[in-house]
Amino acid sequence: MAVQKLPIARAINESLRTALENDPKVLIMGEDVGKLGGVFRVTDGLQKDFGEDRVIDTPLAESGIVGTAIGLALRGYRPVVEIQFDGFVFPAYDQIVTQLAKMHARALGKIKMPVVVRIPYGGGIGAVEHHSESPEALFAHVAGLKVVSPSNSADAYWMMQQAIQSDDPVIFFEPKRRYWDKGEVDKEAFPELSASLEQGRSRSALLHKAAVAREGSDLTLVAYGPMVKVCLEAAAAAEEEGKSLEVLDLRSMSPIDFDAVQASVEKTGRLVVVHEAPVFLGTGAEIAARITERCFYHLEAPVLRVGGYHAPYPPARLEEEYLPGLDRVLDAVDRSLAY
């Protein structure tokens, strides 16, 4: 029964459960993570099974959550904190940027900060303001943090395992509109990761490696988190028109697996980056800049970007038009191929 079909939310839940079982130092903290199991039920049942001492409902104060998690990490714990929605991480931004990210360097390596900050992010769920943001670039720009986002259940399970085992702070963006998408999870796929944790050893190799989600030869689509599905759909649609698109699931926004992107672009000669976050200074900007530098003579068209606009995330009735969808991705594909 190693392979199960699980929704992403459930895969994360089981990954947290595994971590709580394997390491007594792992803690879950956040608003409503206990009895309620979080507003998305990602921590459902964990408090019941591991107790209030390990699955902790916190006061409603994000800076306090991350700040005390830092203190717990200093005491040898490995806190996994939940920020209830993307738009509510900003009260904790100071603790994340000036403390969590810099503590290891400040201590010349003598302190480690194995803290995971889970953030359900992105739009498409018809929510009110502050519930649909994609702030990943605001974390990826900051040295000392690692920033990842899974796109499917298997990655959700395994990337969470790795994030918790990481001795660096990891900002773990969960694609909330995909929480209920099901996928196969093989909990025995990586026995070396399932073993009881050995802290202090780098497990991050897999966590930050991009995956080829679909092979293709005419153009590379790069995406992560919620947009991987859109890109796969775009690739399927394009195939019907005779265009072969390669889809790369980035998985990690810091570090970015530029080698994988480069390898793909050297093959296809064209690149479109897709994310929900605003295009301006989004992760696509960095990918475009760096890949253009690496592949200057391979690119047959400029790297194009599809993403949100430079405007506050719109009210829900407009979000479908604000968010990159199949048509907007294919429009960019067409523009790229037209070069």
Binding site: E31, G34, P59, L60, A61, G126, A127, V128, A311, P315
Partner: protein, 399 residues
């Protein structure tokens, strides 16, 4: 409200060595006795007076039967509106609704205590206060329907937009009050927030700023016992109104289901503020009788018994009992109000159903007041992209 936290309940080894009090181990956290509520109407609808509440009672001592009927009407209509909104959410007309069920007295009492020139900073649940300020209730629904993020002009009724990021608005209220003081005006400002919000650093900072600048702002905390699934003990181990003292201004706990007491205490606090006596904190002790929002399932975290116990303290029944026992309202008042309620429900239903989706280009509107080159560029690209579809929907028709 005093609790022992999880950590506290766990036995801990007593200090060894260096202790001058070895063996003198104490019960963990300091306990405070449950404070008395300021209450002017009992749950049974009896008017009560005491020396302790006299200072507040003065503010409603000569309230007229008409005013009392007005408060009753406000509460009934607010509840009716709220129920309609909940229904509309179930019908798919709204994406979400945050019900105020149970908090009518806290909101109407405080809302009616404000003067026109006062300024109100709500959270996302102050539908009753909005009503008192004269905001058309249908305007509140836009953001829950997803057609805007705030559908009224805050300056029309001195009622600021709903603020979703917990606690932020208390600082806006404080700054606004600093401005009122600078202007030499004698208006006051009132900031609403919840028991959960009391933990946010921003709320503490607003206490500090308002105290240091002696700003005319009243902090009105509706302690409805829950912050989503977390009971108030997860936010504090002493009653919240006590927080104020440590910042140098008074805090009062009022029966939040007693509209008269809330009216009186809020008038008292607003008047202090107007008189240059600075901030005050009111903790309205009340109960969220419904779910946190329509997305929430309270059965996951609280027992029905609790709700049932609070139903006995229902703010509307209480005032009705008083009105009836005093002969302040007759049958026709109640039946006319029923009709008015139904008419309100109907109007809300109709307006919401007719509420158009925003024009697509609204994505780019109002991002900036003075314009922004990138927004202009993206707007143009977006328009061209939309136009490229043969069957492009006309503005306002999308979705």
């Amino acid at each position: 409200m005093t609790v022992e936290s999880t950590a506290a309940r766990k036995p801990r080894r007593s200090s060894t060595g260096g202790s001058k009090r070895a063996g003198a181990k104490k019960a963990a956290p300091q306990k405070s006795t449950e404070p008395e509520l300021v209450q002017l109407l009992t749950p049974e609808g009896k008017r009560v007076k005491s020396a302790k509440t006299a200072e507040y009672e003065a503010y409603v001592a000569d309230i007229t039967a008409e005013e009392l009927r007005g408060l009753y009407r406000d509460m009934v209509l607010t509840r009716r509106f709220d129920a309609e909104a909940t229904a509309l959410q179930r019908q798919g007309e709204l994406g979400l609704w945050a019900s105020l069920l149970g908090q009518e007295a806290a909101q109407i009492g405080s809302g009616r205590a404000t003067r026109d020139d006062d300024y109100v900073f709500p959270t996302y649940r102050e539908h009753g206060v909005a009503w008192c300020r004269g905001v058309d209730p249908t305007n509140l629904l836009g953001m829950f329907r997803g057609v805007n993020n705030g559908g009224w002009d805050p300056n029309s009724n001195n009622f600021h937009l709903y603020t979703i990021v917990i606690g932020s608005q208390t600082l806006h209220a404080t700054g606004y009050a600093m401005g009122v003081a600078k202007d030499g005006a004698d208006s006051a400002v009132i900031a609403y927030f919840g028991d959960g919000a009391s933990s946010q650093g921003d709320v503490a900072e607003s206490f500090t700023f308002s105290a240091v600048y002696n700003a005319p702002v009243v902090f009105f905390c509706q302690n409805n016992q829950w912050a989503i699934s977390e009971p108030t003990e997860k936010q504090t181990r002493v009653p919240l109104y006590q927080r104020a003292q440590g910042y140098g201004f008074p805090g009062v706990r009022v029966d939040g289901n007693d509209v008269l007491a809330v009216l009186a205490v809020t008038k008292w606090a607003l008047e202090r503020a107007r008189d240059g006596e600075g901030p005050a904190l009111i903790e309205a002790f009340t109960y969220r009788m419904g779910a946190h929002t329509t997305s929430d399932d309270p059965s996951k975290y609280r027992s029905d018994d609790e709700r049932v116990a609070w139903e006995a303290k229902d703010p509307i029944l209480r005032l009705r009992a008083y009105l009836e026992s005093e002969g302040h309202a007759n049958e026709s008042f109640f039946s006319e109000l029923d009709d008015e309620s139904e008419a309100l429900g109907k109007r809300v239903r109709e307006v919401v159903r007719a509420m158009p989706d925003p024009d697509l280009m609204a994505i780019f509107e109002n991002a900036y007041a003075d314009g922004h080159a990138l927004v202009d560029e993206e707007r143009a690209q977006f328009a061209a992209y939309q136009a490229s579809f043969a069957d492009a929907p006309a503005a306002g028709e999308v979705k």
